[in-house]
């Protein structure tokens, strides 16, 4: 068995969630649109689930629509809102460190006549309100800032951004995927108008997410068909997955507080010991305003993919923002936005803890990390200056 430390990329479905889902594949298989009793059973559980999930983010049940995941929710929020409001303005603001899906949706909107501005972040990855204020204008219709960075774990001042937008009558969208299940989130407290959330990131099944749409906020549908989800998202609802997400929410409500305290213990120990035992190693992201399960380092003179491979050899699964491990060979845009050079962004290591980690997993990393780093540095032409001095 390998030690899995990449919960940001994917999470195992909680066995209790699987158990809750099973009856809805065969026994209670109905289509909520059907008018017979089999269909009624499906409608009931669909609406009950919607209520539970809505409550998890402080929303009303009729403000939540089910989607195929957070990427669809992001597409729907940005494109659906932009198309609906194109007569009021054509300007959209996102941050430099949004998830890649938001960046690519923004590019798509730019190709279709919209103007996109990006808010720079500080060296810890935080969006500043002043820089946001400098960017909004009369034509700004929408601001999208993720709740926390999926890479470096920095938490954004979301309620301040939400308040700023509310005062100017600009819609505010937030992708909460990186933060969901790690901290309480409330759409009213934080003035969020549109929100994307995924099921898998709270240990529910993949292939399901929600889009929260505040009452009074209007968006166009993207997927058109039989008019499900109040006409905003057609297609027969994925009832087993919805039931799974409901169960995942219930478990999370019970366990989040204990769980995040535990992650924070792992995280703090890993960060402290790594920074003290490995020379020329730095923490990326914010020292305190960071997700409780996220540790993100960079090491002078070494490259992230070879780090990742070395960990793989030791049966430890980690992640990196290195260009060599990406599909495009570009370094992580988030790390570049922090003000890092390409070579620094290359040497990054991301470790994210989750529900099924144990204290021993931190030991496993700490045991091998210094050795891996020093072996790769011996191969590196960039590290010789340091070894001489």
């Amino acid at each position: 068995m390998s030690v899995y430390l990449d919960y940001q990329s994917a999470k195992p479905v909680d066995p209790r969630v699987i158990e809750a889902m099973l009856p809805y594949f065969h026994e209670k298989f109905g289509n909520p649109s059907s008018l017979h009793s089999v269909g009624d059973t499906a409608t009931e559980i669909l609406e009950e689930s919607r209520k539970t999930i809505a409550r998890f983010i402080g929303a009303d049940h009729d403000e939540v629509i089910f989607t195929s995941g957070a990427t669809e929710s992001n597409n729907h929020a940005l494109i659906g809102y932009a198309l609906r409001h194109k007569d009021s303005g054509n300007h959209i603001v996102i941050s430099e460190i949004e998830h890649i899906s938001i960046h690519n949706i923004a590019k798509y909107l730019e190709r279709n006549g919209f103007v996109v501005s990006k808010i720079p972040v500080d060296q810890f990855g935080r969006v500043s309100l002043e820089k946001l204020a400098e960017r909004v204008s009369e034509t700004t219709i929408l601001v999208s800032v993720g709740y926390a960075s999926d890479e470096i774990g920095t938490i954004q001042p979301i309620s301040d951004i939400g308040k700023f937008c509310r005062e100017r009558n600009i819609a505010f969208h937030s992708d909460i995927v990186a933060a969901e299940g790690l901290m309480p989130i409330d759409v009213n407290r934080e003035n969020i108008d549109l929100l994307s959330m995924s099921s898998n990131d709270i240990y529910g099944p993949k292939g399901l997410g929600i889009l929260y749409v505040r009452k009074g906020t209007r968006i166009n549908p993207l997927i058109i068909g039989g008019g499900q989800e109040r006409g905003l998202r057609s297609g027969t609802e994925n009832v087993p997955a919805v039931v799974g997400m409901k169960r995942a929410v219930e478990i999370m409500q019970q366990e989040m507080s204990e769980e995040t305290t535990r992650f924070q213990r792992y995280r703090d120990r890993l960060i402290e010991e790594t920074l003290t035992t490995v020379p020329r190693c730095y923490l990326n992201g914010h020292p305190t305003d960071r997700l409780p399960n996220n540790a993100h380092f960079r090491f002078d003179g070494i490259e992230g993919e070879s780090l990742l491979l070395s960990f793989k050899e030791k049966n430890i699964e980690v992640s990196t923002g290195s260009a060599c491990s990406s599909k495009t060979l570009e370094p992580s845009h988030t790390l570049i936005a922090l003000g890092l050079l390409h070579e620094e962004a290359h040497g990054s290591l991301e470790i994210t803890f989750g529900r099924f980690n144990e204290d021993g997993d931190v030991d496993s990393v700490l045991e091998v990390l210094p050795g891996i780093v020093s072996r790769l540095r011996k191969l590196s032409p960039l590290y010789k200056e340091e070894t001489k001095s």
């Binding site: 400098e134 730095y282 070879s306 599909k327 070579e343």
Partner: protein, 258 residues
């Protein structure tokens, strides 16, 4: 195919790279290549005797396949004449490694190029070309410098706390600029020091700087300051690789020359 789905042979060379290290002395030539695509870096050292590569060593900053291709090409080149070694192609390297993921083929290019550069350096030593080092070191105009003066660009610092937790770039302007860089490390974790030189003149101060958390950019120059109302990023020129790139910073200090 995923970018990290490597053959057993690639993994073997990654785990146990052959001929790692450097060489010194007579008959040694060095070739260095940086990859503009992914930022990888390779260095090859060859020792040539009677036109034959007697010994070869390498160092690599890069991914698994960069390490493996460098290691493999040292095995292929060792013992060959320089002209034979010049004929090694990236396909030869990839084939010997039982294939590379398509997206990683450029790594074998990199290895082949670095080896070629080393051989070229060796040949140039044999027939010394009268190369002229052009030192066109006139002070260039930095675009945007006037626009952002006082808005992130400073020629004099009266209040260091201005830079608390900010990303500061300092251009080399003698000892005072080094002292300032060191002083600022107490206030912010990110200080970048830019010099056009290959290395800093030896002094107690520059030694301190090298050991500090200051990020030093050698052979670099600042071309342009960019931002909306205040400085947000700069356009840099890496003179060694002749590449331009953007870097996010909050402030730039260009002390007036005394």
């Amino acid at each position: 195919m995923k970018s990290t789905q490597y053959s057993e042979k690639v993994l073997d060379h990654f785990r146990n790279p052959r001929n790692v290290g450097t060489l010194e002395g007579k008959g040694v030539a060095v070739g260095r290549v940086g990859n503009p695509v992914c930022g990888d870096l390779m260095e090859f050292y060859i020792k040539v005797k009677d036109d034959r590569i007697e010994d070869i060593k390498f160092k690599t900053f890069g991914c698994g396949s960069a390490i493996a291709t460098a290691s493999m090409i040292t095995e292929l080149a060792k013992g060959k004449t320089v002209d034979e070694a010049l004929k090694i192609t990236r396909q030869d390297v990839a084939d010997e490694l039982e294939g590379l993921p398509p997206i990683k083929m450029h790594c074998s290019n990199l290895a082949a190029d670095a080896l070629k550069n080393a051989i070229k350096a060796y040949k140039e030593k044999q027939e010394p070309l009268s190369k002229q080092e052009t030192m066109a070191e006139g002070p260039k105009k930095i675009v945007g410098m006037d626009q952002f003066k006082g808005q992130g660009v400073y020629e004099e610092i009266y209040d260091l706390s201005l830079f608390k937790d900010r990303r500061v770039m300092i251009l080399e302007r003698g000892e005072r600029s080094i002292e300032l860089a060191l002083e600022l490390t107490k206030l912010t974790p990110r200080v970048v020091f830019v010099t056009g030189k290959k290395s800093l003149d030896a002094s107690i101060l520059s030694e301190k700087l090298a050991k500090s958390s200051v990020k030093i950019l050698y052979e670099s120059e600042l071309l342009e300051v960019r931002g909306l109302n205040t400085v947000e990023k700069v356009l840099m020129h890496d003179m060694n690789e002749d590449e331009e790139y953007e870097l996010f910073v909050d402030g730039v200090v260009i002390l007036r020359n005394e």
